[in-house]
């Protein structure tokens, strides 16, 4: 299972299908929550995840496609766009230190 130490996370990608709706909403929330952490948050279509992405965040329904598109990268999947426990945990790990492995 790919993992990364929180201090090595520079870029977080919210992978999405269309990039105009829910993922945009989540990315804006993450950007706000991680404002002081130095982590960049971007949203990109699931089939064009950039090489320099450190962690991928995507809806569980897109996880298989995200894994195929960016093999070997830690991937946090969620089910609820606002307030999903997996996303909350990721934010806390980045803020407080620890390892992201998913």
């Amino acid at each position: 299972m790919p993992s990364i130490d929180s201090k090595d996370i520079k870029k977080l990608i919210v992978a999405c299908d269309a990039g105009m709706g829910s993922s945009v909403m989540l990315a804006s929330q993450l950007r706000k929550q991680l404002k002081d952490s130095g982590v960049t948050v971007e949203h990109t279509p699931v089939n064009s995840i950039p090489d320099d992405a450190d962690v991928i965040v995507c809806h569980s329904g897109l996880a298989a496609r995200a894994k195929a598109s960016a093999p070997g990268k830690p991937l946090v999947s969620f089910q609820i766009f606002l307030g999903d426990p997996a996303v909350t945990k990721l934010v806390n790990t980045i803020k407080n230190g620890g390892t992201v492995d998913a």
Binding site: M20, P45, L62
Partner: protein, 141 residues
């Protein structure tokens, strides 16, 4: 906030729909009617919903098209369509849809604002229960 994203004519507060697809069609129609999207965009919204639900919580869904359908978007816009009787959304009860047509990132700030509203239960309720167009415009723009 850009004030051209939400046309007051695209705020419909007393709609009803028998099911999710009908609710999405209503949203798509509202976007087409204000000149934000071309007709085929409505089908793309249905297709997008079938892959992953756009339910975001607090009784709100944000239907929108697929990446491939961006060519049918004429300008970035949203619509707000309220279904006081509720719509079954794959087991969730939706009373408010914020439909989106976007080809650029012009609507990002508005979605960000919507997320803030939905994370505040009191504001979320006020938006869900709004009966006047002016209330919705005030909350969102």
């Amino acid at each position: 906030m850009r004030d051209d994203l939400l046309d007051p004519r695209a705020v419909l507060l007393r709609e009803s729909a028998p099911d999710r697809d009908a609710a999405i069609r209503r949203c798509g129609r509202a976007l087409v009617d204000v000149g934000a999207a071309a007709e085929p965009y409505i089908e793309a919204m249905l297709e997008r919903e079938r892959s992953i639900s756009t339910y975001v919580g607090e009784g709100v869904a944000i239907p929108h098209g697929t990446n491939a359908s961006k060519g049918d978007v004429q300008r970035d816009a949203i619509c707000v369509v309220r279904f006081p009787g509720g719509v079954d959304w794959d087991g969730e009860q939706v009373t408010l849809c914020v439909g989106i047509a976007a080809k650029d990132d012009g609507h990002v700030q508005l979605l960000s604002q919507l997320a803030e509203i939905l994370l505040d239960p009191d504001r979320a309720r006020a938006l869900r229960e709004a009966t006047e167009v002016s209330q919705v415009m005030k909350e969102l723009t």
